[in-house]
């Protein structure tokens, strides 16, 4: 009974199952149902008979269990459910919006990790010095300034001083127009990157400071390894585990942050899809979109585990 990754897979599935139940139940509490959402104030003009017919049509006359099963069924068979008001399948919506969010998340993560590790190393080199103070101040401010404040500030300054409105144009994928896409992604990516950089920086700093005191670092210095090599091969490499963990955790934040950033920078990603759906009371779209997020998030966690094993040969099961 030793199938590699079996227990991992089972726990991933259990987590996803739990999230699906939770999301499903939470959204049933919404006052007013999707009929009011789809028809707005015109709902009042419908006769009770029509409403009953619509309830049957949308499938919300059934018991919760049946509704859940039919949602999961349509989710798994690839359509991800349908938006009530437009009848478009959530899969169609997701197909165009998911790449936007993934691109944004990748830019944010890469920027955040590079920036965070660089500033963390910069800070840890001389603890207590002015440069350490500057590094820590950056970490603190990056943590404290909300993404929506930073985004609003950037949009205002860019539009006002430089007459630069990349979000005034329709969104372009990197394949259609790489230059335009870069302009549209640059600032939202930066905002997310700064948010990720803060905790990565703090983790890097404290992990480095802890490792520097270890015996093997002193030995490396003692046997005459050049300082630079000690810093990268011995200190940084041994500090990577907490940094990778923190990056994995931040990815979740990144997905949440995408909701706000996509709204401000008018990017048609998953975050905006969820927000629109919430406003329109589209149960199915909200549920399925959040599930897509959950799957991404769980996959990232698995990836983090794999990376652990790559960077630290000691971790083996």
């Amino acid at each position: 009974m030793k199938i590699p990754g079996l227990s991992r897979t089972l726990s991933v599935l259990a987590t996803l199952f739990g999230i699906s139940i939770f999301v499903f139940l939470v959204l049933r509490v919404i006052p007013g149902d999707s009929i009011t959402g789809a028809f707005g104030i015109e709902t009042g003009a419908l006769t009770p008979g029509q409403i009953a017919e619509l309830r049957v049509y949308y499938g919300i006359d059934q018991s919760l269990l049946l509704q859940y099963i039919s949602w999961i069924h349509s989710f798994l068979t690839g359509k991800l459910g349908f938006a009530y008001s437009t009848g478009v399948s959530v899969a169609t919506l997701t197909k165009s919006s998911l790449p936007v969010t993934i691109e944004l998340a990748i830019i944010g993560t890469v920027l955040g990790v590079v920036l965070g590790i660089a500033i963390g190393m910069f800070s840890a080199k001389k603890p207590g010095s002015t440069r350490d103070f500057a590094g820590q101040l950056f970490g603190l401010l990056a943590l404290a300034i909300p993404g929506f404040v930073l985004s609003t500030g950037i949009v205002t300054v860019m539009a006002n001083k430089f007459h630069y409105f990349p979000n005034g144009y329709e969104y372009m994928t990197p394949w259609e127009n790489p230059w335009m896409n870069f302009q549209q992604m640059m600032f939202p990516g930066l905002v997310l990157g700064i948010a990720v950089a803060a905790p990565v920086m703090r983790t890097t700093r404290s992990a480095l400071l802890e490792t520097v005191d270890k015996d093997f670092v002193r030995t490396a210095h003692g046997k005459g390894v050049p300082n630079n090599k000690v810093q990268y091969r011995h200190v940084l490499r041994n500090s990577l585990i907490p940094i990778v963990t923190m990056t994995g955790i931040q990815f979740g934040y990144l997905l949440g942050g995408a909701v706000i950033v996509e709204k401000i920078f008018a990017l048609p990603g998953m975050g905006r899809q969820i927000l629109d759906a919430i406003m329109k009371r589209e149960y199915a779209t909200v549920q399925s979109s959040i599930m897509v997020f959950a799957i991404m998030f769980v996959l990232i966690n698995v990836a983090t585990d794999v990376i652990y094993r790559k960077i630290d040969p000691r971790i083996k099961k």
Partner: protein, 285 residues
């Protein structure tokens, strides 16, 4: 995690030795005082009163932070917004602390299937971006301040479960607990006198940090239009309203943003200060 004996008196002494801790406490204190002023109506103007003759005025002796596009006093609105942010965050974090610590300690102490159940359920919540869950909950509950507080509280509970459960698992196996049990002390007494003090330090630190996240989440939700509804001011909503104005009326954007940042910086510094003061291992450095 070694056995930690914390004396509150000593902790205060160590806390006051850290500069960042003091700075943080001062910043938080200012914001709390400001919020209390707003509770008792000690603001220069009514936060929703519209001064039609003074639309979009810059900061002046009359309007310290200027006025917005409805001629409302930005200073009074910022104070009111801070009060709302703090009310929601404190309620949310209190809820999360009570629920999380209770379930965390019980799960760690009772163990077996109960621990399994609590850990599994909290893993599900934990495995997920907080703001998204809060978004879904707020969307379904409503826009009242307690709905937001409930949403944020539920989302932060697993953090406290984790923080409380960890030390319990370690301490539970220690000899002095086993001896207490042999001596016939009741579970309640062991929990209260021997286990809770060990959980106390990490929880206090976590409260400070969670408050800062809760403020960011609350303002994020109201920025998205899912929190406090106009005309009632909230910091996130004020930033959102300032979007089209900021280019020619910077004060509408800068002051509410500044207040959020100050309180979050303050709470983080307090958290760092507490962590150093409550952890004997860090005191020497």
């Amino acid at each position: 995690m070694k056995n930690k004996e914390i004396k509150t008196k000593g902790a205060l002494h160590y806390y006051l030795q850290s500069t960042s801790g003091i700075v943080g406490a001062v910043l938080v204190l200012i914001m709390v005082i400001v919020a209390i002023c707003s509770i008792f109506g000690i603001t220069p103007y009514d936060p929703v009163e519209q001064h039609i003759d003074n639309i979009l005025q810059g900061p002046s002796a009359h309007f310290w932070f200027g006025t917005d596009d409805f001629g409302r006093d930005v200073f009074s609105r910022t104070l009111e917004g801070m009060r709302r942010s703090l009310t929601v965050s404190i309620t949310a974090v209190s809820l999360a602390t009570i629920l999380g610590v209770t379930f965390g300690i019980l799960a760690g102490y009772v163990g077996k299937w109960f621990d399994q159940l609590v850990t599994r359920v909290s893993d599900v919540f934990f495995a997920f971006p907080a703001i998204l869950l809060a978004l879904a909950i707020v969307a379904s509950l409503g826009n009242a301040w307690y709905d937001t507080a409930l949403a944020i509280g539920v989302v932060y509970t697993p953090i406290f479960i984790r923080v409380a459960r960890g030390p319990v698992l370690t301490v539970k196996e220690m000899d002095y607990i086993k001896i207490s049990r042999v001596l016939g002390f009741s579970s309640f007494r062991i929990l209260r006198k021997h286990i809770f003090p060990n959980v106390f330090a990490p929880i206090v630190v976590q409260i400070a940090l969670s408050l800062s996240w809760a403020i960011l989440t609350e303002s994020g939700l109201s920025f998205l239009g899912l929190g406090t509804q106009p005309p009632t001011p909230s910091l996130g909503l004020m930033v959102s309203d300032a979007q089209p104005l900021a280019a020619f009326a910077w004060w509408t954007l800068v002051f509410p943003s500044l207040f959020i940042t100050i309180v979050v910086v303050g709470l983080n510094l307090v958290g760092d200060g507490l962590r150093d003061a409550l952890d004997p291992a860090r005191r020497s450095s």
